[in-house]
Symmetry: C2
Subunit: 225 residues, 2 copies
C-alpha cells in the first residue's frame, strides 16, 4: 500500500449480492457514514460462536480506532488479531408501502472487514484523542488527561479500512405499479438521532460554564429522508 489506499473498498467479500444497486464502495461515501455515527457493532468469533458488541470508535484517515475497555471478552479475543467485522448503521426513516412486501427502512450502513490490532505506545494516546474528539469534537483539550495507570486500564484497537462496503436506501416507498390504485397510506416516517441540551451533574466548580463545543453539539447531517 505504498502508493496510497485503493480508491475502491470493494472486494468479493464486501460485494452486495441481492441488491447490488444499493452497494457503495468509495471512501468518501463510506467515511461520511462512519463520521456521522459514533457507536459501531464489532463482530468477532470465539470457539465458533460469533459475538457482536457495541462500542465507541473514531476515524483517522484510513484507520478506525475502537474503544475496548467495556468488553474484556472482546479485547482478549481481538488482541490475537483475529478477523473482525465492524458495522455502523444510521436509520433515517421507516418506509411504509401499500404492500407489506415493499416495506423497508431508509438507512445508511457500513461494513468493514479486517483484523484489529492492539494499539500501544505513543500511538495509543493519539488514538484515544481521535476517538474522544470523534464523539465530542474539542473535548480532549478540556479534560484531565489520562494517567499512566489509566492508560494501562484502557484498551484501544485499530483497524485499517481496506475492505468495506456501504448500503444506502433512501426515498419514498417503491410500490408495484398496480398497488398505487389501492386505498392504503404510503410514505415515510423520518427517524432522527438527536441530542438534547447538555445537563451538568450538579457538581461543577463555581465559574465553570457549558463549553462552546457543547452549545451547538449535533450529529445530524442533511439527509434525503
Amino acid at each position: 500500500m505504498t502508493n496510497g489506499p485503493a480508491p475502491s473498498l470493494k472486494t468479493e467479500r464486501t460485494t452486495l449480492r441481492r441488491r447490488p444497486n444499493k452497494g457503495v464502495y468509495d471512501r468518501d461515501s463510506i467515511y461520511a457514514i462512519l463520521d456521522e455515527a459514533f457507536v459501531c457493532h464489532v463482530g468477532f468469533v470465539q470457539e465458533g460462536q460469533p459475538f457482536v458488541i457495541p462500542t465507541g470508535y473514531g476515524r483517522d484517515g484510513d484507520t478506525l480506532y475502537l474503544h475496548g475497555s467495556s468488553a474484556s471478552r472482546m479485547m482478549r479475543a481481538l488482541a490475537e488479531e483475529i478477523p473482525i467485522c465492524v458495522t455502523v448503521t444510521l436509520v433515517d426513516a421507516l418506509v411504509l408501502a401499500r404492500s407489506v412486501f415493499n416495506h423497508s427502512v431508509n438507512h445508511r450502513s457500513v461494513v468493514v472487514l479486517g483484523k484489529a490490532a492492539l494499539v500501544e505506545g505513543e500511538e495509543k494516546m493519539h488514538g484515544l484523542t481521535v476517538l474522544t474528539n470523534h464523539i465530542v469534537p474539542g473535548r480532549w483539550d478540556d479534560v484531565r488527561p489520562p494517567t499512566d495507570l489509566e492508560m494501562k486500564a484502557t484498551s484501544l484497537l485499530k483497524m485499517r479500512i481496506d475492505e468495506a462496503s456501504a448500503k444506502i436506501r433512501s426515498g419514498p416507498p417503491a410500490d408495484d405499479d398496480e398497488d398505487y390504485a389501492l386505498p392504503y397510506w404510503g410514505g415515510i416516517v423520518p427517524v432522527r438521532t438527536v441530542t438534547e441540551p447538555a445537563v451538568d451533574d450538579g457538581r461543577l466548580l463555581a465559574g465553570v460554564e457549558l463549553p462552546s463545543y457543547l452549545v451547538d453539539y449535533s450529529r445530524i447531517r442533511p439527509i434525503e429522508g
Copy 2:
C-alpha cells in the same frame, strides 16, 4: 423447556466479565430493550470471517423473528442453523466526565446467543405479522397482504431467546473523588432516537388519510438519562 422458559437468561457465555454490576439477565429487562428498538445487528460466521448485518426484527414471547430479505449472504448462511449473535443497542446519552478516562456512553444493549432457523409454512405469515407490527403497531391490517410469490421472495428467521444478557449504563459521570475539584465541565448530553411526522409519497388516493397508528407514532420510552 416443557416447564416454561428459565427465569434467567444468564449463562457462562453471556455473563459480563469486566463490569458485572452492569449485567442484567431477567427477561423483563431484556424484553423492554428488545421491544423499544426495531433494528438489530446479526453476527454470523462464514469461513472463519464474522459478518455483522443490520436488519429488522420482532419479538413474540420468547421468540425473535428476524427479517432476512435484505441480506442474501446472511440468509444462505443462517439457513444452515449456524450459531448467531443478535445485538440490540439503544444509546441514551454521552457521558462527559472531568477525566477523559471516565467518559462513557449511557446505553441499554442486549446480546442474544443461539441458532436461527428458517421459518416456513403457516408460521411464516405469523412471524411477518409480528415483525411488521413490532415496527409499526397496527400496520399489518392496513396494507395489501403478501402474495404467494412475495412470500417465497421473503426470508424470515426465528431464534429462541434462551441465552442472553443486557448491559445498562445510566446516570451522570462517575469521576474520581479528587477530580471534582477540577474546573472541567461534567454531565451528560442526552441522545434520543425520535420520529418526525409521517410524510406521504404524494400518490395517495383521494380520501386516504394518515392512519391513526401513525398520528402518535413514537418509540421513545421513559429513561433516566
